[in-house]
């Protein structure tokens, strides 16, 4: 939509008096792919932070339990899954106590699922901002991910508690956790950007997201170990980027041997594809948001 001239913009902001000879902001119609302007997103990082801060602040003002919800959600899921799959079904769990096994999978999953769900609806929910003020639209879905990351950190404390309870020390590969978080966030952002942009045009997306997330949950080895899946299906399983994240989490923290091994590289590549295509799609559709909302 616009191509701000960086150096000049900074210059004008500093001197504040003489207008520059070249335009600070050029507005031209665009067709096809728009430039990414990542540095502009960087300039608006404070807004990103403020939007995330608003979400958290408002959430805790309106709820009784506040921060506890970040823990209750995955813990509740863990209890339900432990009862049904751990006790009733007697699911194998690679030699790890089932509650710990499932929680280690649910933790990154929750980060992913919450990020996707929130960012998919973020543009529609912030319609009043999009139609009244200019800023890189990317900031809005991105801010929802910041919020999910905070919840993830809180819920992570429970995992530490569980590991302590079962007397399992973190495996040697703990260093890989940030990378895996990055992969989960990258995938969530890619999917979220796709859904958020499509949601502006087709409001059906809002109803599709819960199904999508629920289906995806069971396609990811969270309640079951990937070792249960027949070998022939492993490649298909690795196509799911979240498989890599969940398997990686258990490997890095609990020391399980990743069943899929090299195939996980594939899931990293898929993450990249999803993320890049999501950003491109978002940028392409971005300029029509205000007209469609």
């Amino acid at each position: 939509m616009t191509e701000p001239v960086r150096a000049v913009a900074a210059d004008a902001a500093e001197t504040g008096s003489d207008p520059p000879a070249t335009p600070t902001i050029r507005i031209r119609p665009h067709s096809g792919l728009a430039p990414l302007r990542l540095c502009e997103v960087w300039e608006y990082r404070e807004l990103l932070y403020f939007l995330a801060w608003r979400t958290i602040k408002v959430r805790y003002k309106q709820t009784l339990l506040g921060a506890a919800w970040a823990i209750l959600q995955p813990v509740f899921a863990m209890v339900v899954f432990s009862l049904i799959f751990g006790r009733l079904v007697g699911m194998a769990s690679d030699g790890i106590p089932y509650p710990l096994f499932v929680y280690a999978g649910l933790l990154p999953w929750q980060l992913f699922a919450q990020s996707v769900a929130e960012s998919a609806n973020s543009l529609v929910n912030n319609e009043h901002l999009l139609t009244k003020v200019y800023f890189p639209r990317f900031v809005i879905p991105a801010s929802t991910i910041l919020v999910s990351l905070l919840d993830f950190t809180v819920a992570g404390a429970v995992l530490a508690g569980l590991m302590g309870y079962y007397g399992i020390a973190p495996a040697g590969a703990v260093w890989a956790v940030p990378l895996l978080v990055l992969q989960a966030v990258g995938t969530a952002l890619g999917v979220g950007l796709w859904l958020a942009a499509l949601n502006v045009r087709y409001r059906d997306i809002r109803h599709v997201v819960p199904f999508l997330i629920q289906g995806w949950l069971f396609l990811t080895p969270i309640v079951y170990p990937s070792s249960l899946v027949p070998r022939g299906w492993h490649l298909a399983l690795a196509l799911n980027p979240m498989t890599g994240v969940v398997e990686g989490f258990r490997w890095a923290l609990l020391g399980t041997k990743p069943e899929l091994g090299g195939a996980l590289g594939l899931s990293a590549i898929i993450t990249l594809v999803v993320l890049v295509s999501g950003v491109l799609c978002f940028r392409r559709m971005e300029r029509t948001f205000a007209d469609l909302l």
Binding site: L47, R54, R203, L292
Partner: protein, 417 residues
Amino acid sequence: MSDIAVRVAGLGKRYRLGSRSVGGTAYEAIAAAVRAPLRCFSRTPPPEYIWALKNVTFELRRGEVLGIIGRNGAGKSTLLKVLSRITEPTEGAVDLYGRVSSLLEVGTGFHPELTGRENIFLNGAILGMRRGEIAKKFDEIVAFSEVERFLDTPVKHYSSGMYLRLAFAVAAHLESEIVIADEVLAVGDAAFQKKCLGKVGEVAKAGRTAVLVSHNMGLMHALAQRCLYLRRGEVAAHGEPREVIEQYLSETINPQDANRPTLEGYRRGPSADSPVAITGVWCGEQSRGVQRVAMGAPIAMGVALRVLKELHGANLTITLKNAQGERVVVLFSWDREFSLFLPPGDHVITVRIENLVLAPGRYFADVGVNRSTRSTAYDVIVDFPVFRVDNEGHVIHWLERPWGAVHCPTVTWQTTP
């Protein structure tokens, strides 16, 4: 180094009409995609487009204030949206030289659950201020908004006046070289409105460039160095505010103009169960449109009412305003012990105003029917153009004098020794 602040060239914005462009469901999109290869056989009609802006060109020098006027739907808001990068133009180019802040509404992003203090920071960030900048101006903002005592109260508990004052205060302290503002000026009560206008005047005097949209011609007159009159998306006039406003007013008033608005565009009511509707407002004879009145001559006004349910003593008010929006005459029929007791049907009420000598110019009427001054009116017509006062020999010297006062009575001059 040029001193141009805003350059707009051949700007056009096209919207597509019809349901497909706005929203549409995924099913429709899929269905359309399936049908696409067959489309050449089915001869679907080409999509209809509407140009909200067409070929808009202007330049604004540094420090100039441009007022944009035009009727509702003339493209004023679209132009502001394009200038503030909310929506992309279909054609043409805009160059902005300097930091831009756009205020299409006050209080964008305000959250009712957050306190005044928190909302100042949030709103500031949304409007593009840095955190340090907001912190630096925080005290100034609070002082301007006059809500010090409630800073730590969630804004959902604010009165609407306090809310608007706080919102305007944040917006008013934006630092930018170019300001783009829609009719957000002048909010709150009269005292605060004055403060707001003062702030806007300050912006203009401080050498900042501004693009303003307002329906308040008096304000435009006072603030703008230049005016742009938009008519159906195109520039109808551009230049001196006085001339452009004159043209705009004459076009909206002129009965020959096909665009002449009917009473409907001016109606603020009636409510669904209202017992009466105003069906006509005129000066002189009905159906003659805007009348010319000689300065000092009596003014006869007529109001047609369609009564649906019998009226038991309603009040008819007529307020006359000049082109600057200033009230000149406020008439209450009750003041003359004249209450409306009317059976269902069509009725015409007339009033004759004597001894009123108005300055030359255009006059507009607010007409309302109500049952008490406190309750909501049954029906209200606002700013309806009714007559034009011409100086026909009443004033004979220096005809282009700055009129200032609106009342020019006939007086007797005398010298005593």
